[in-house]
Symmetry: C2
Subunit: 185 residues, 2 copies
Amino acid sequence: MVRVDAADVYEVEVKVPADHDAVRDALASVGAEVGATVEQADTYYDAPHRDFAATDEALRVRRVRADGEEDARLTYKGPKVDAESKTREEIETGVEDAGDAGAILEALDFSPAATVRKRRTYYAYGEYTVVLDDVEGLGEYVEVEREAAEADVERALEEAYEVLESLGLDPADQIRTSYLGLLLE
Amino acid sequence: MVRVDAADVYEVEVKVPADHDAVRDALASVGAEVGATVEQADTYYDAPHRDFAATDEALRVRRVRADGEEDARLTYKGPKVDAESKTREEIETGVEDAGDAGAILEALDFSPAATVRKRRTYYAYGEYTVVLDDVEGLGEYVEVEREAAEADVERALEEAYEVLESLGLDPADQIRTSYLGLLLE
C-alpha cells in the first residue's frame, strides 16, 4: 500500500498477519528499537450524501491512548489518485475532543459505521517503522512502513519486503484490505 | 439571544451597534475590567446535502489569534430548540489546524459561504461579559452576555438590558441577526 499526503509525501506500507511473539524475537535479534505502545480506537463514518464504499473515501475519528493520555484526530482519506501507484490523499487534524468531533459529524447526519480497536507497538528499524498491531476481533498483524518521495516509492516498497523477510515474514502474505474492510467482511 | 450548549447551559446575549470610544469610557467609569483582545476569523460552510439557511443550522471553523498564538475551533450550531426561548444546541471542539479542518470539510463537499472577521475585546462587568466587536465590513458592536441555568434565563436577559443601559446603550437597538446574516444581507 502507498498513500500520499497533501504535501506529496508517500506513505509506503506493507501489512501481513503474523504471530507477535516470533516477530518480537526477530526484531530483538536484528537490533530494532522498541518504541511506544498505544491504544487506538478508529471510528469510521458513513456520509449522508454519498457512498464512501463506492467513492473509495473514508472519514475517521481516531482516539489514541498512550501513557494514560488521550489524543484524538479527524482524518479524511480521498480516493486513490491513480490505480497504478495506489496513492491516496490524506487530510488530518488533531481535535481536542473525539466525542465532540463525532457528535458534530452525527449532527450533520454522518453515521458511525464501525470502530476498529487495536493495541499498537512501534519499532524503529533502519529507515523503517515496524508496527505490531493486535486488532480486536481480527488478531495480530505486522506493518512495515516508511515515508518516501515519489521517485523513491518503488525502492522503498522493495526494501519493505526485505525488512519483512529479515523478520521471518513472507511478503506474499501481504494483505491490502484495511482493518475496517476486514472487520466488515 | 439565548443559546444552549449540550450541557444545558444557556448563553444569554444581547447585541447592539455602538460606538466603541463612548462605551470604553462608560466601562471605565462603572469599573468594568478590561480583558483580552483577540482577532477572530469565522468561516461558515454550506452543506452539500441540505440547506443550512432553511434548516437553521450552521457549521463554522473559527480561527482565533491572541498574543501571536493561533487557536482554532470547529462548531456545529443546531436549529432553535423551541421558538419561545430561542435556544439552540452548540457542539464545539478545538482543532489543531484550521486549514486542515476546512480542507476536510471541502473534501466532503461542504463549501465556504462567508468569513466573518472581527477584532474582539472582552470586559468583565459583574456577572456579565461585555464584548466590543469591530467587525470587518459591518462596524462596531457591543454584546452583553452571560451563562445561565434555564430557570435564570429571563432574569439574566433583563439584567443584560440593565447593563446596556448603564453603559449608555439602548436595549431597543438590539440586533438579533448574526454577523454572518448581516454580512450576507
